[in-house]
Protein backbone atom coordinates (compact mmCIF):
# COMPACT_ATOMS: atom_id res chain seq x y z
CA UNK A 1 0.00 0.00 0.00
CA UNK A 2 1.55 3.37 -0.86
CA UNK A 3 1.75 6.17 1.69
CA UNK A 4 -0.92 8.30 0.06
CA UNK A 5 -3.50 5.53 0.06
CA UNK A 6 -2.57 4.62 3.62
CA UNK A 7 -2.94 8.22 4.82
CA UNK A 8 -6.31 8.58 3.11
CA UNK A 9 -7.49 5.35 4.70
CA UNK A 10 -6.43 6.50 8.13
CA UNK A 11 -8.21 9.80 7.71
CA UNK A 12 -11.41 8.04 6.70
CA UNK A 13 -11.19 5.71 9.68
CA UNK A 14 -10.57 8.69 11.95
CA UNK A 15 -13.65 10.42 10.62
CA UNK A 16 -15.69 7.28 11.15
CA UNK A 17 -14.41 6.94 14.69
CA UNK A 18 -15.16 10.54 15.47
CA UNK A 19 -18.76 9.99 14.44
CA UNK A 20 -19.03 6.68 16.23
CA UNK A 21 -20.84 6.28 19.53
CA UNK A 22 -17.89 4.18 20.73
CA UNK A 23 -15.46 7.06 20.87
CA UNK A 24 -16.40 7.99 24.41
CA UNK A 25 -14.39 6.52 27.22
CA UNK A 26 -17.11 5.39 29.60
CA UNK A 27 -18.90 2.15 28.94
CA UNK A 28 -22.34 2.00 27.48
CA UNK A 29 -23.52 -0.11 30.39
CA UNK A 30 -22.59 2.49 32.96
CA UNK A 31 -24.06 5.28 30.90
CA UNK A 32 -27.29 3.44 30.31
CA UNK A 33 -27.61 2.46 33.94
CA UNK A 34 -27.14 6.06 35.08
CA UNK A 35 -29.65 7.33 32.56
CA UNK A 36 -32.19 4.68 33.44
CA UNK A 37 -32.01 5.40 37.15
CA UNK A 38 -32.03 9.16 36.90
CA UNK A 39 -34.95 9.36 34.46
CA UNK A 40 -37.20 7.00 36.35
CA UNK A 41 -40.49 8.26 37.81
CA UNK A 42 -41.61 7.49 41.37
CA UNK A 43 -44.27 5.21 39.96
CA UNK A 44 -41.71 3.23 37.99
CA UNK A 45 -39.46 2.95 41.02
CA UNK A 46 -42.36 1.52 43.01
CA UNK A 47 -43.25 -0.88 40.20
CA UNK A 48 -39.70 -2.18 40.05
CA UNK A 49 -39.51 -2.45 43.81
CA UNK A 50 -42.64 -4.59 43.84
CA UNK A 51 -41.39 -6.73 40.98
CA UNK A 52 -38.06 -7.25 42.73
CA UNK A 53 -39.79 -8.18 45.97
CA UNK A 54 -41.74 -10.86 44.08
CA UNK A 55 -38.49 -12.16 42.60
CA UNK A 56 -36.99 -12.23 46.08
CA UNK A 57 -39.96 -14.20 47.38
CA UNK A 58 -39.35 -16.73 44.64
CA UNK A 59 -35.64 -16.82 45.48
CA UNK A 60 -36.40 -17.46 49.13
CA UNK A 61 -38.54 -20.46 48.29
CA UNK A 62 -36.19 -21.89 45.67
CA UNK A 63 -33.23 -21.52 48.02
CA UNK A 64 -35.15 -23.32 50.75
CA UNK A 65 -35.76 -26.18 48.33
CA UNK A 66 -32.19 -26.07 47.12
CA UNK A 67 -30.91 -26.20 50.69
CA UNK A 68 -32.53 -29.59 51.18
CA UNK A 69 -30.89 -31.08 48.08
CA UNK A 70 -27.44 -32.62 48.00
CA UNK A 71 -25.03 -29.86 46.96
CA UNK A 72 -23.99 -29.75 43.33
CA UNK A 73 -20.23 -29.46 43.07
CA UNK A 74 -18.48 -27.25 40.54
CA UNK A 75 -16.70 -30.40 39.41
CA UNK A 76 -19.72 -32.57 38.76
CA UNK A 77 -20.20 -35.48 36.43
CA UNK A 78 -22.94 -35.52 33.83
CA UNK A 79 -24.87 -37.99 35.98
CA UNK A 80 -24.69 -35.74 39.04
CA UNK A 81 -25.86 -32.77 37.00
CA UNK A 82 -28.79 -34.64 35.50
CA UNK A 83 -29.92 -36.01 38.85
CA UNK A 84 -29.61 -32.63 40.53
CA UNK A 85 -31.44 -30.76 37.79
CA UNK A 86 -34.36 -33.16 37.71
CA UNK A 87 -34.66 -33.47 41.47
CA UNK A 88 -34.51 -29.71 41.87
CA UNK A 89 -37.15 -29.25 39.19
CA UNK A 90 -39.55 -31.80 40.68
CA UNK A 91 -39.15 -30.64 44.26
CA UNK A 92 -39.54 -26.99 43.38
CA UNK A 93 -42.57 -27.67 41.22
CA UNK A 94 -44.21 -29.36 44.16
CA UNK A 95 -43.27 -26.51 46.49
CA UNK A 96 -44.75 -24.02 44.00
CA UNK A 97 -47.90 -25.96 43.27
CA UNK A 98 -50.60 -23.43 42.51
CA UNK A 99 -48.20 -20.87 41.06
CA UNK A 100 -49.87 -18.89 38.30
CA UNK A 101 -49.12 -16.30 35.70
CA UNK A 102 -48.63 -12.85 37.20
CA UNK A 103 -47.26 -14.06 40.53
CA UNK A 104 -43.92 -12.43 39.77
CA UNK A 105 -44.66 -10.31 36.72
CA UNK A 106 -47.10 -8.11 38.61
CA UNK A 107 -49.22 -5.68 36.69
CA UNK A 108 -47.21 -2.49 37.24
CA UNK A 109 -43.88 -4.30 36.76
CA UNK A 110 -45.11 -5.78 33.48
CA UNK A 111 -46.28 -2.39 32.32
CA UNK A 112 -42.88 -0.87 33.11
CA UNK A 113 -41.13 -3.63 31.17
CA UNK A 114 -43.42 -3.18 28.15
CA UNK A 115 -42.78 0.55 28.13
CA UNK A 116 -39.03 0.00 28.43
CA UNK A 117 -39.13 -2.35 25.47
CA UNK A 118 -41.10 0.10 23.41
CA UNK A 119 -38.69 2.91 24.21
CA UNK A 120 -35.78 0.73 23.18
CA UNK A 121 -37.55 -0.29 20.00
CA UNK A 122 -38.19 3.33 19.14
CA UNK A 123 -34.60 4.25 19.88
CA UNK A 124 -32.89 1.43 18.08
CA UNK A 125 -33.01 -0.51 14.90
CA UNK A 126 -36.16 -2.55 15.42
CA UNK A 127 -35.23 -5.00 12.73
CA UNK A 128 -31.99 -5.82 14.50
CA UNK A 129 -33.66 -6.57 17.83
CA UNK A 130 -36.40 -8.56 16.15
CA UNK A 131 -33.81 -10.57 14.27
CA UNK A 132 -32.07 -11.54 17.52
CA UNK A 133 -35.31 -12.43 19.26
CA UNK A 134 -37.21 -14.16 16.49
CA UNK A 135 -34.49 -16.21 14.89
CA UNK A 136 -34.49 -18.63 17.82
CA UNK A 137 -36.22 -21.89 17.08
CA UNK A 138 -38.38 -21.93 20.19
CA UNK A 139 -41.78 -20.77 18.96
CA UNK A 140 -43.56 -23.90 20.14
CA UNK A 141 -42.33 -23.75 23.73
CA UNK A 142 -45.49 -24.09 25.85
CA UNK A 143 -46.23 -21.05 27.98
CA UNK A 144 -46.91 -22.78 31.27
CA UNK A 145 -45.94 -21.49 34.68
CA UNK A 146 -44.13 -24.00 36.88
CA UNK A 147 -43.31 -26.29 33.94
CA UNK A 148 -39.81 -26.75 32.60
CA UNK A 149 -38.58 -24.94 29.51
CA UNK A 150 -37.87 -27.89 27.17
CA UNK A 151 -34.17 -28.68 27.40
CA UNK A 152 -33.89 -29.44 23.71
CA UNK A 153 -35.22 -26.03 22.71
CA UNK A 154 -32.92 -23.22 21.71
CA UNK A 155 -32.51 -20.30 24.09
CA UNK A 156 -32.94 -16.81 22.75
CA UNK A 157 -30.01 -14.52 23.25
CA UNK A 158 -31.26 -11.61 25.32
CA UNK A 159 -30.44 -8.44 23.34
CA UNK A 160 -27.87 -6.79 25.62
CA UNK A 161 -29.05 -3.25 25.04
CA UNK A 162 -32.48 -4.28 26.31
CA UNK A 163 -31.12 -6.38 29.12
CA UNK A 164 -29.15 -3.44 30.45
CA UNK A 165 -32.38 -1.49 30.82
CA UNK A 166 -34.43 -4.12 32.63
CA UNK A 167 -34.51 -4.56 36.41
CA UNK A 168 -31.56 -6.67 37.49
CA UNK A 169 -32.23 -10.22 38.56
CA UNK A 170 -30.30 -12.64 40.76
CA UNK A 171 -27.94 -14.74 38.68
CA UNK A 172 -30.15 -17.80 39.14
CA UNK A 173 -33.12 -16.16 37.40
CA UNK A 174 -33.05 -15.19 33.73
CA UNK A 175 -35.26 -13.23 31.39
CA UNK A 176 -35.94 -15.14 28.21
CA UNK A 177 -37.95 -14.37 25.09
CA UNK A 178 -40.23 -16.80 23.36
CA UNK A 179 -41.55 -14.83 20.43
CA UNK A 180 -43.02 -11.61 21.81
CA UNK A 181 -43.54 -13.11 25.25
CA UNK A 182 -41.07 -12.80 28.06
CA UNK A 183 -40.36 -15.57 30.54
CA UNK A 184 -38.57 -15.77 33.83
CA UNK A 185 -36.63 -19.02 33.93
CA UNK A 186 -34.61 -20.61 36.72
CA UNK A 187 -31.07 -21.20 35.50
CA UNK A 188 -30.43 -24.33 37.51
CA UNK A 189 -33.61 -26.31 36.95
CA UNK A 190 -35.03 -24.68 33.83
CA UNK A 191 -38.44 -24.06 35.38
CA UNK A 192 -40.61 -21.34 33.91
CA UNK A 193 -41.17 -19.20 36.98
CA UNK A 194 -43.58 -16.81 35.30
CA UNK A 195 -44.23 -15.16 31.95
CA UNK A 196 -45.80 -12.07 30.50
CA UNK A 197 -47.40 -11.82 27.10
CA UNK A 198 -46.68 -9.21 24.45
CA UNK A 199 -43.58 -7.91 26.13
CA UNK A 200 -42.27 -6.82 22.74
CA UNK A 201 -44.23 -4.20 20.83
Amino acid sequence: MNQKVKATGLLLIALALSLSPYSGSSSLAAAQTQKTESSMSEGDKQAIKLFESRVNEYMKLRNQVKGKLPKLSKDSTAAQIETYRKTFEETLRTARAGAKRGDVFNSSGSEYIRRTMKTEFDRQDKAEIRKVVFEAENKDVPMRVNYPYPESKELTEMPPTILLKLPQLPKEVKYRFVGRNMLLVDRDNNLIIDYMVDALP
Binding site: M1, K6, L10, I13, A14, L15, L17, S18, L19, P21, Y22, S23, G24, S25, S27, L28, A29, T33, L72, S73, K74, D75, S76, T77, A78, A79, I81, E82, Y84, R85, D125, E128, I129, K131, V132, E135, A136, E151, S152, E154, L155, T156, E157, M158, P159, P160, T161, I162, L163, L164, Q168, L169, K171, K174, R187, D188, N190
Partner: protein, 304 residues
Amino acid sequence: MKRLLFSLLILAFLFSNGLNTVSYSQTASGAKVAAGSNTAPKLVLPLKEGSLRFAVIGDTGTGTDKQRQLADVMVKYRTAFPYDFVLMMGDNIYGSESVQDFQKKFSDVYKALLDDKVKFYATLGNHDLAIQINYEPFNMNGKEYYRIKKNNVAFYSLNSNYMDKKQVQWLEDELAKDTSDWKVCFFHHPPYSSGGKHGSDKQLREVVEPIFLKYGVNMVLAGHEHFYERIKPQKGIYYFISGAGGKLRDGDIKDVSSLTDKGFDRDLSFMLFEVVGNQMYFQVISRTGETVDSGVLPNQRKKS
Protein backbone atom coordinates in the same frame (compact mmCIF):
# COMPACT_ATOMS: atom_id res chain seq x y z
CA MET B 1 -13.52 18.62 16.37
CA LYS B 2 -12.15 17.34 19.70
CA ARG B 3 -13.46 13.87 18.89
CA LEU B 4 -11.80 13.97 15.50
CA LEU B 5 -8.47 14.96 17.03
CA PHE B 6 -8.84 12.29 19.69
CA SER B 7 -9.55 9.65 17.06
CA LEU B 8 -6.56 10.75 15.02
CA LEU B 9 -4.36 10.43 18.09
CA ILE B 10 -5.63 6.91 18.74
CA LEU B 11 -4.99 5.96 15.15
CA ALA B 12 -1.53 7.42 15.21
CA PHE B 13 -0.80 5.40 18.34
CA LEU B 14 -2.08 2.16 16.83
CA PHE B 15 -0.30 2.88 13.59
CA SER B 16 3.00 3.48 15.34
CA ASN B 17 2.57 0.25 17.26
CA GLY B 18 2.54 -1.90 14.23
CA LEU B 19 -1.07 -2.38 13.19
CA ASN B 20 -0.05 -1.81 9.62
CA THR B 21 2.28 -4.72 9.87
CA VAL B 22 -0.52 -7.26 10.30
CA SER B 23 0.41 -9.96 7.92
CA TYR B 24 -1.29 -13.12 6.91
CA SER B 25 0.06 -15.98 4.94
CA GLN B 26 -2.84 -17.25 2.92
CA THR B 27 -1.77 -20.81 2.83
CA ALA B 28 -3.83 -23.66 1.60
CA SER B 29 -2.01 -26.88 1.31
CA GLY B 30 -4.18 -28.13 -1.48
CA ALA B 31 -3.29 -31.70 -0.67
CA LYS B 32 -6.42 -33.15 0.84
CA VAL B 33 -5.94 -35.81 3.45
CA ALA B 34 -8.67 -38.37 3.89
CA ALA B 35 -10.20 -38.24 7.36
CA GLY B 36 -8.75 -40.95 9.52
CA SER B 37 -5.87 -41.65 7.15
CA ASN B 38 -2.31 -41.98 8.36
CA THR B 39 -0.97 -39.00 6.45
CA ALA B 40 1.23 -36.88 8.68
CA PRO B 41 -0.11 -33.52 9.83
CA LYS B 42 1.16 -30.57 7.83
CA LEU B 43 2.04 -28.14 10.55
CA VAL B 44 2.86 -24.58 9.59
CA LEU B 45 3.18 -23.27 13.14
CA PRO B 46 6.69 -22.48 14.41
CA LEU B 47 6.59 -24.90 17.37
CA LYS B 48 8.94 -22.80 19.45
CA GLU B 49 10.16 -24.06 22.78
CA GLY B 50 8.17 -22.67 25.70
CA SER B 51 5.40 -21.25 23.54
CA LEU B 52 1.73 -21.34 24.52
CA ARG B 53 -0.29 -23.74 22.38
CA PHE B 54 -4.00 -24.28 22.27
CA ALA B 55 -6.83 -25.37 20.01
CA VAL B 56 -10.25 -23.84 19.33
CA ILE B 57 -13.49 -25.62 18.45
CA GLY B 58 -17.05 -24.40 18.32
CA ASP B 59 -20.59 -25.68 17.93
CA THR B 60 -19.43 -29.20 18.46
CA GLY B 61 -22.09 -31.05 20.42
CA THR B 62 -23.77 -33.20 17.80
CA GLY B 63 -22.29 -36.64 18.35
CA THR B 64 -22.11 -37.21 14.62
CA ASP B 65 -19.52 -39.17 12.69
CA LYS B 66 -18.19 -35.93 11.25
CA GLN B 67 -17.62 -34.45 14.69
CA ARG B 68 -15.68 -37.57 15.61
CA GLN B 69 -13.66 -37.42 12.40
CA LEU B 70 -12.67 -33.85 13.16
CA ALA B 71 -11.72 -34.90 16.68
CA ASP B 72 -9.50 -37.59 15.16
CA VAL B 73 -7.70 -34.96 13.12
CA MET B 74 -7.28 -32.87 16.29
CA VAL B 75 -5.66 -35.88 17.97
CA LYS B 76 -3.42 -36.46 14.99
CA TYR B 77 -2.27 -32.83 14.96
CA ARG B 78 -1.54 -32.98 18.63
CA THR B 79 1.19 -35.53 17.96
CA ALA B 80 2.95 -32.86 15.89
CA PHE B 81 1.78 -29.88 17.90
CA PRO B 82 1.30 -30.75 21.56
CA TYR B 83 -1.32 -28.27 22.68
CA ASP B 84 -2.35 -28.19 26.34
CA PHE B 85 -5.90 -26.98 26.19
CA VAL B 86 -8.92 -26.44 23.98
CA LEU B 87 -11.28 -23.46 24.00
CA MET B 88 -14.90 -24.31 23.19
CA MET B 89 -17.05 -21.63 21.58
CA GLY B 90 -20.41 -22.89 22.85
CA ASP B 91 -23.24 -25.13 21.70
CA ASN B 92 -21.33 -27.81 23.50
CA ILE B 93 -24.34 -30.14 23.69
CA TYR B 94 -27.15 -29.85 21.16
CA GLY B 95 -30.62 -31.12 21.99
CA SER B 96 -31.26 -33.08 25.16
CA GLU B 97 -28.63 -33.09 27.90
CA SER B 98 -28.83 -36.51 29.49
CA VAL B 99 -25.84 -38.46 30.73
CA GLN B 100 -25.81 -40.30 27.41
CA ASP B 101 -25.79 -37.00 25.54
CA PHE B 102 -22.74 -35.75 27.41
CA GLN B 103 -21.01 -39.00 26.51
CA LYS B 104 -22.06 -39.20 22.91
CA LYS B 105 -21.60 -35.52 22.10
CA PHE B 106 -18.53 -34.74 24.17
CA SER B 107 -16.65 -37.17 26.36
CA ASP B 108 -16.59 -40.09 23.93
CA VAL B 109 -15.69 -37.86 21.00
CA TYR B 110 -12.71 -36.24 22.73
CA LYS B 111 -11.77 -39.23 24.87
CA ALA B 112 -8.23 -39.46 23.51
CA LEU B 113 -7.58 -35.82 24.37
CA LEU B 114 -9.26 -36.03 27.77
CA ASP B 115 -7.30 -39.18 28.59
CA ASP B 116 -4.16 -37.29 27.68
CA LYS B 117 -5.05 -34.56 30.23
CA VAL B 118 -5.86 -31.91 27.65
CA LYS B 119 -8.09 -29.37 29.39
CA PHE B 120 -11.23 -28.01 27.79
CA TYR B 121 -12.53 -24.54 28.65
CA ALA B 122 -16.11 -23.99 27.56
CA THR B 123 -18.40 -21.06 27.06
CA LEU B 124 -22.20 -21.23 26.88
CA GLY B 125 -24.03 -21.22 23.55
CA ASN B 126 -27.70 -20.74 22.80
CA HIS B 127 -28.23 -24.50 22.85
CA ASP B 128 -26.57 -25.08 26.22
CA LEU B 129 -28.27 -25.36 29.58
CA ALA B 130 -26.49 -23.05 31.98
CA ILE B 131 -26.05 -25.87 34.48
CA GLN B 132 -23.19 -27.05 32.24
CA ILE B 133 -21.06 -24.60 34.20
CA ASN B 134 -20.78 -27.34 36.82
CA TYR B 135 -19.59 -30.04 34.42
CA GLU B 136 -16.05 -30.80 35.49
CA PRO B 137 -14.54 -31.41 32.02
CA PHE B 138 -15.71 -27.97 30.85
CA ASN B 139 -13.61 -26.28 33.57
CA MET B 140 -16.04 -23.41 34.07
CA ASN B 141 -15.77 -23.73 37.83
CA GLY B 142 -19.47 -23.06 38.35
CA LYS B 143 -19.30 -19.69 36.57
CA GLU B 144 -21.13 -18.38 33.52
CA TYR B 145 -18.18 -16.13 32.76
CA TYR B 146 -14.61 -16.44 33.94
CA ARG B 147 -11.00 -15.59 33.30
CA ILE B 148 -8.03 -17.90 32.97
CA LYS B 149 -4.41 -16.95 32.62
CA LYS B 150 -1.93 -18.97 30.58
CA ASN B 151 1.62 -17.65 30.34
CA ASN B 152 1.35 -14.10 29.00
CA VAL B 153 -2.22 -14.52 27.76
CA ALA B 154 -5.47 -13.81 29.62
CA PHE B 155 -8.57 -15.55 28.32
CA TYR B 156 -12.05 -14.29 29.11
CA SER B 157 -14.95 -16.65 28.58
CA LEU B 158 -18.17 -14.61 28.38
CA ASN B 159 -21.81 -15.61 28.37
CA SER B 160 -23.10 -13.87 25.26
CA ASN B 161 -26.57 -15.33 25.78
CA TYR B 162 -27.00 -13.01 28.69
CA MET B 163 -24.79 -9.93 28.74
CA ASP B 164 -26.31 -8.22 31.76
CA LYS B 165 -25.04 -5.40 33.92
CA LYS B 166 -23.26 -7.70 36.34
CA GLN B 167 -21.29 -9.38 33.59
CA VAL B 168 -20.44 -6.10 31.87
CA GLN B 169 -19.22 -4.67 35.16
CA TRP B 170 -17.20 -7.80 35.92
CA LEU B 171 -15.58 -7.66 32.48
CA GLU B 172 -14.64 -4.02 32.90
CA ASP B 173 -13.25 -4.57 36.39
CA GLU B 174 -11.16 -7.57 35.32
CA LEU B 175 -9.83 -5.99 32.15
CA ALA B 176 -8.97 -2.75 33.94
CA LYS B 177 -6.50 -4.50 36.20
CA ASP B 178 -5.23 -6.99 33.63
CA THR B 179 -1.59 -6.48 32.70
CA SER B 180 -1.28 -9.54 30.47
CA ASP B 181 0.46 -9.08 27.13
CA TRP B 182 -2.48 -10.61 25.30
CA LYS B 183 -6.14 -10.30 26.18
CA VAL B 184 -8.39 -12.74 24.38
CA CYS B 185 -12.17 -12.87 24.78
CA PHE B 186 -14.19 -15.85 23.64
CA PHE B 187 -17.93 -16.34 23.58
CA HIS B 188 -20.64 -17.77 21.39
CA HIS B 189 -22.22 -14.98 19.33
CA PRO B 190 -19.93 -13.23 16.85
CA PRO B 191 -19.91 -9.41 16.88
CA TYR B 192 -18.80 -9.55 13.25
CA SER B 193 -19.84 -12.23 10.81
CA SER B 194 -20.53 -12.73 7.13
CA GLY B 195 -23.00 -15.52 7.77
CA GLY B 196 -26.18 -15.58 5.76
CA LYS B 197 -28.14 -17.29 8.51
CA HIS B 198 -27.14 -15.09 11.46
CA GLY B 199 -24.67 -12.37 10.52
CA SER B 200 -23.02 -9.88 12.87
CA ASP B 201 -24.50 -9.63 16.33
CA LYS B 202 -24.76 -5.86 16.36
CA GLN B 203 -26.68 -5.74 19.64
CA LEU B 204 -23.89 -7.52 21.44
CA ARG B 205 -21.26 -5.54 19.63
CA GLU B 206 -22.78 -2.26 20.74
CA VAL B 207 -22.20 -3.24 24.35
CA VAL B 208 -18.91 -5.15 24.31
CA GLU B 209 -16.87 -3.47 21.60
CA PRO B 210 -16.36 -0.18 23.48
CA ILE B 211 -15.06 -2.20 26.42
CA PHE B 212 -12.71 -4.22 24.23
CA LEU B 213 -11.35 -1.02 22.74
CA LYS B 214 -11.04 0.77 26.03
CA TYR B 215 -9.06 -2.00 27.69
CA GLY B 216 -6.98 -3.20 24.77
CA VAL B 217 -8.47 -6.59 23.98
CA ASN B 218 -6.37 -8.12 21.21
CA MET B 219 -8.48 -10.90 19.87
CA VAL B 220 -12.06 -12.17 19.95
CA LEU B 221 -13.06 -15.76 19.20
CA ALA B 222 -16.66 -16.82 18.61
CA GLY B 223 -18.83 -19.57 17.18
CA HIS B 224 -22.58 -19.71 16.42
CA GLU B 225 -21.99 -19.58 12.67
CA HIS B 226 -21.24 -23.05 11.40
CA PHE B 227 -18.16 -22.19 9.43
CA TYR B 228 -14.72 -20.68 9.83
CA GLU B 229 -14.15 -16.99 9.19
CA ARG B 230 -11.25 -14.65 9.76
CA ILE B 231 -12.64 -11.15 9.86
CA LYS B 232 -10.64 -8.21 8.66
CA PRO B 233 -9.35 -6.52 11.84
CA GLN B 234 -12.05 -4.23 13.18
CA LYS B 235 -10.88 -1.08 14.97
CA GLY B 236 -7.59 -2.89 15.48
CA ILE B 237 -9.04 -6.05 17.05
CA TYR B 238 -8.66 -9.51 15.50
CA TYR B 239 -11.92 -11.45 15.16
CA PHE B 240 -12.30 -15.13 14.33
CA ILE B 241 -15.30 -17.42 14.02
CA SER B 242 -14.74 -21.11 14.59
CA GLY B 243 -18.19 -22.65 14.68
CA ALA B 244 -17.83 -25.73 12.53
CA GLY B 245 -16.66 -28.26 15.09
CA GLY B 246 -19.70 -30.46 14.71
CA LYS B 247 -22.16 -28.70 12.43
CA LEU B 248 -21.68 -27.20 9.02
CA ARG B 249 -23.75 -24.58 7.23
CA ASP B 250 -22.42 -25.28 3.79
CA GLY B 251 -21.90 -22.18 1.63
CA ASP B 252 -23.31 -19.78 4.23
CA ILE B 253 -20.57 -17.16 4.02
CA LYS B 254 -21.92 -14.30 1.94
CA ASP B 255 -19.79 -13.79 -1.13
CA VAL B 256 -20.24 -10.06 -1.07
CA SER B 257 -19.18 -9.51 2.51
CA SER B 258 -16.55 -6.87 3.00
CA LEU B 259 -15.77 -8.27 6.43
CA THR B 260 -14.10 -11.48 5.34
CA ASP B 261 -10.37 -11.85 5.12
CA LYS B 262 -10.64 -15.60 4.78
CA GLY B 263 -13.59 -17.94 5.03
CA PHE B 264 -14.14 -21.66 4.86
CA ASP B 265 -17.66 -23.09 4.81
CA ARG B 266 -17.24 -26.37 2.97
CA ASP B 267 -16.36 -28.71 5.81
CA LEU B 268 -15.88 -28.91 9.57
CA SER B 269 -12.77 -27.25 10.97
CA PHE B 270 -10.83 -26.36 14.09
CA MET B 271 -8.06 -23.89 14.91
CA LEU B 272 -4.62 -24.15 16.42
CA PHE B 273 -2.84 -21.22 18.04
CA GLU B 274 0.72 -20.70 19.16
CA VAL B 275 1.75 -17.63 21.11
CA VAL B 276 5.40 -16.72 20.90
CA GLY B 277 6.03 -13.47 22.76
CA ASN B 278 4.31 -10.75 20.79
CA GLN B 279 3.37 -13.00 17.90
CA MET B 280 0.19 -15.04 17.68
CA TYR B 281 0.40 -17.79 15.06
CA PHE B 282 -2.66 -19.64 13.87
CA GLN B 283 -3.53 -22.53 11.61
CA VAL B 284 -6.99 -23.70 10.62
CA ILE B 285 -7.50 -27.33 9.70
CA SER B 286 -10.45 -29.05 8.08
CA ARG B 287 -11.95 -32.46 8.78
CA THR B 288 -9.96 -33.83 5.87
CA GLY B 289 -6.71 -32.53 7.34
CA GLU B 290 -6.37 -29.70 4.88
CA THR B 291 -4.92 -26.41 6.10
CA VAL B 292 -7.48 -23.84 5.06
CA ASP B 293 -5.89 -20.76 6.61
CA SER B 294 -2.84 -19.76 8.59
CA GLY B 295 -0.88 -16.68 9.53
CA VAL B 296 0.70 -14.62 12.24
CA LEU B 297 -0.77 -11.70 14.15
CA PRO B 298 1.46 -9.16 15.86
CA ASN B 299 0.43 -7.86 19.24
CA GLN B 300 -1.25 -4.54 18.48
CA ARG B 301 -0.38 -3.10 21.90
CA LYS B 302 3.30 -3.97 21.95
CA LYS B 303 6.24 -2.75 19.97
CA SER B 304 7.98 -5.58 18.17
